[in-house]
Amino acid sequence: MAKPLSLGEFEQIVLLAILRLGDNAYGVAIRSEITLCTGRQPAPGALYTTLDRMQEKGIVRSWFGDATPQRGGRPKRFFALTKSGHAALVSAQQAYQNMLRGLDLLGEPNA
């Protein structure tokens, strides 16, 4: 079986935001979700660069929605995780969980 791709911290945050948003994961929504959950407002440039890079690596895929008048007649670009992207995220989160085990970091001991 192929080794899952390694992910950076921001990549994991973006992927988790995409998962949380489900079918509505596009640029503005992803940025808002990250701000809401982490309190950090990512720069638009950093977000689009990360999304493009992850698409090049085959971690996410994207497609275009219909054009809407609120967006000046421009379409939304939606994102979703690919199989390998999902595997990479699970692997990265598993690694965090393993590192947390036995530590009293979040107020209660992690069994």
Binding site: Y48, P75, R77
Partner: protein
């Protein structure tokens, strides 16, 4: 509302048409109640982010690639060999000289493209790996030529040619083994073909420009004519490199695996 069409046109310089439209749509959606200055700051930030890696790769491949390769050619004795063979009356083999010069030119192109692709797309990229592998093969072959001509005093030339051709055959077989590699090899061959066409075209253009400059009276040019001539060459050299990299990027994007293509 800020002029979104200009923003979209600007973004199209650094990304695809569809992506530029989607990004502009996002910016309009986010900035409807905000000042237009913020909108333009966002556009500038996105343009910088999306082109930063391309720019970095371009500068490093252009400067470091040229510098390292020319120093390698000098230290390995290849340049000395070309100068001795090319300008002496005692030619020891025209064919071998042409072979070494061609290998040097192709090796230089491969080394620059390889550096660019490795920085722009990462070392995991198939095209970057294949290009780097071929560049190293050319470098090894040139080092072998350098060693052979300086140690054995030319007599090993047929053996060196045979080893180089054998190494190239191995590389060719390796690059045709899988469908993805075949696609990448096609892209790389296309890049080298266009670059090979660009060299005589740009060379002729620079020759024509130098001819025209030579016809201008000295009193009309404030700087010495020799200085003007020396500055023409790097400009056309950079033009060739720009063509090479543009073709390489376009060809690379066509080799992207299907699961990453927008649907």
């Amino acid at each position: 509302m800020p002029n979104a069409s200009i923003a979209e046109w600007l973004l199209r310089r650094v990304t695809t048409q569809e992506r530029a439209a989607a990004i502009t749509g996002d910016l309009i959606e986010q900035n409807t109640k905000r000042a237009s200055l913020l909108f333009w700051f966002s556009v500038a930030g996105i343009m910088l982010s999306l082109s930063a890696r391309w720019l970095l790769a371009f500068i490093i491949a252009w400067q470091v690639g040229n510098w390292t390769f020319s120093h390698f050619l000098r230290s390995s004795g290849i340049l000395g060999f070309i100068e001795t063979e090319g300008f002496s009356h005692h030619h020891t083999g025209h064919l071998f000289l042409i072979f070494v010069i061609s290998l040097g030119v192709v090796g230089n192109f491969l080394w620059q493209i390889g550096l660019f692709l490795a920085i722009r797309y990462g070392l995991r990229d198939t095209m970057a790996r294949l290009t780097m592998m071929l560049a190293f093969a050319a470098i090894c072959a040139l080092a072998l030529v350098g060693a052979a001509v300086s140690i054995t005093n030319w007599w090993a030339k047929p053996a060196v040619s045979a080893i180089c051709i054998f190494a190239m055959l191995i590389g060719a077989i390796f690059s045709l083994l899988t469908a993805q590699r075949r696609k990448v090899t096609q892209a790389l061959t296309g890049t080298l073909f266009v670059t090979a066409l660009a060299v005589p075209v740009c060379g002729s253009m620079s020759g024509l420009l130098m001819y025209l400059i030579s016809k201008i009276p000295q009193w009309a040019i404030h700087t010495p004519r020799s200085l003007v001539f020396t500055s023409v060459f790097p400009v056309f050299n950079m033009l060739i490199f720009l063509i090479e990299i543009s073709v390489c990027t376009t060809m690379h994007d066509r080799t992207s695996p299907k699961d990453t293509v927008e649907i």
